[in-house]
């Protein structure tokens, strides 16, 4: 990654409190709080991932996106009384190790046993370009998954409008978004790992 990222030291405990508040509001369906949570989270993930993927700077942004999608898909496994750093760290670490293991068995042996509170210590807001095009992966999904995501998540139509437009039922639209994002995560895994 180009050294254009600015890393600013944060007080991790403050960040934890702020992100936790945003995330919990997001879990209750507050989209704006959730968007701010994901954006700030990606800044912290970027530094965390870059430190551990120093051999593959090109992969950093892809893995940040993979982590973000994985955390979104598994957000129901977060227990609200649990430290957010622990949850974020466990998932990010799992994804880093998964990638390193796929790249080379030897690298996986250097599994860094690091302190989980360090996840929120620094943040980099400037992203390098992702190599993998999420939009292109989205295009590969079947219509029953792709259309709900495109209409609801990208174009901002309501579930009801999307249902009318596509002839799907409202519950099929909701299920389509849910399953579609899972399928997208699976494509990120398999697509990224064969290279």
């Amino acid at each position: 990654m180009e050294r254009t990222t600015r890393t600013t030291p944060f007080r991790a405990a403050e960040v934890e409190a702020e992100l936790h508040a945003l995330f919990v509001r997001g879990l209750d369906g507050d989209g704006e709080a959730y968007r701010r949570f994901l954006q700030r989270l990606s800044g912290h993930l970027r530094v965390f991932v870059a430190r551990r993927l120093f051999g593959w700077p090109d992969e950093v942004e892809d893995l940040v996106q993979e982590c973000l999608l994985a955390m979104h898909n598994q957000r129901h496994t977060y227990q609200r009384d649990q430290p957010l750093t622990a949850w974020v760290h466990a998932i990010a670490r799992y994804k880093v190790i998964d990638l390193l293991r796929a790249k080379s068995a030897r690298e996986a042996l250097h599994d860094p046993l690091d302190d989980e509170t360090a996840v929120f210590a620094e943040s980099a807001t400037e992203a390098s370009d992702a190599r993998r095009d999420v939009q292109a992966l989205l295009a590969q999904l079947p219509d029953r998954h792709r259309l709900p995501i495109v209409h609801v998540k990208l174009e901002g139509l309501s579930v009801a409008e999307t249902a009318k437009l596509t002839g799907m039922s409202e519950s099929a639209v909701k299920v389509g978004i849910h399953r579609g994002l899972k399928a997208l995560a699976a494509k990120m895994r398999s697509g990224g790992r064969k290279a």
Binding site: Y34, L38, T77, Q135, V152
Partner: protein
Amino acid sequence: MKTDDLADLLAAQVAPAPRRAASRRLGLALALGLPAAAAIMLVDYGVRRDLVQAMLWPMFWVKLLFPACIGIAGYVMVQRLAHPGVRVRRAWLGAVLPVLAVWVLAAVGWWRMPDEARMPALMGQTWRTCVWSIGLMALPVFVAVLAALRTLAPTRPAAAGAAAGALAGGAGAAVYALHCPELTAPFLAVWYVLGIALPVAAGALIGPRLLRW
């Protein structure tokens, strides 16, 4: 797509996340798996005819409760391993201590038995089938719990698979205890423990493949 755009996409009209999802999904898995295990026991094996009388013997309760403890510890471990960043802590002791207790019980029994009684106490009449029967009765819970785990987020898949095996093996052995005619500690110490170890080993082996996400 830029990462900020992905964040926008994910946050757009986001649905509220279900609460206590893991407990409900694992609960559902048990609600499906346990009756299936009981059905296999009732239909293929049958409850032991002297069940009411057997309930008066302490060994019957040892045979029922030691696997049940392992099953409960397995549930607690699965629960914790399904949540990223939640530590297992001492829950594994709940699976290990009952085994140690049965081994101690078996060693004491073995030591106090006359020589000629030892092999019959160890092998019983059903040693050939015990392990496989427990494995068979563990299967429905095993499959259901792994299916539930696939919708959760185990970051230690081998451990999560093994814990699912402990849950299923403990449950399966407790169900099988209602049929099983054996009542000696050495028999439990070997064949029941092997029967429970079978799904634990299977879970540890297939976990990394099956539970990847």
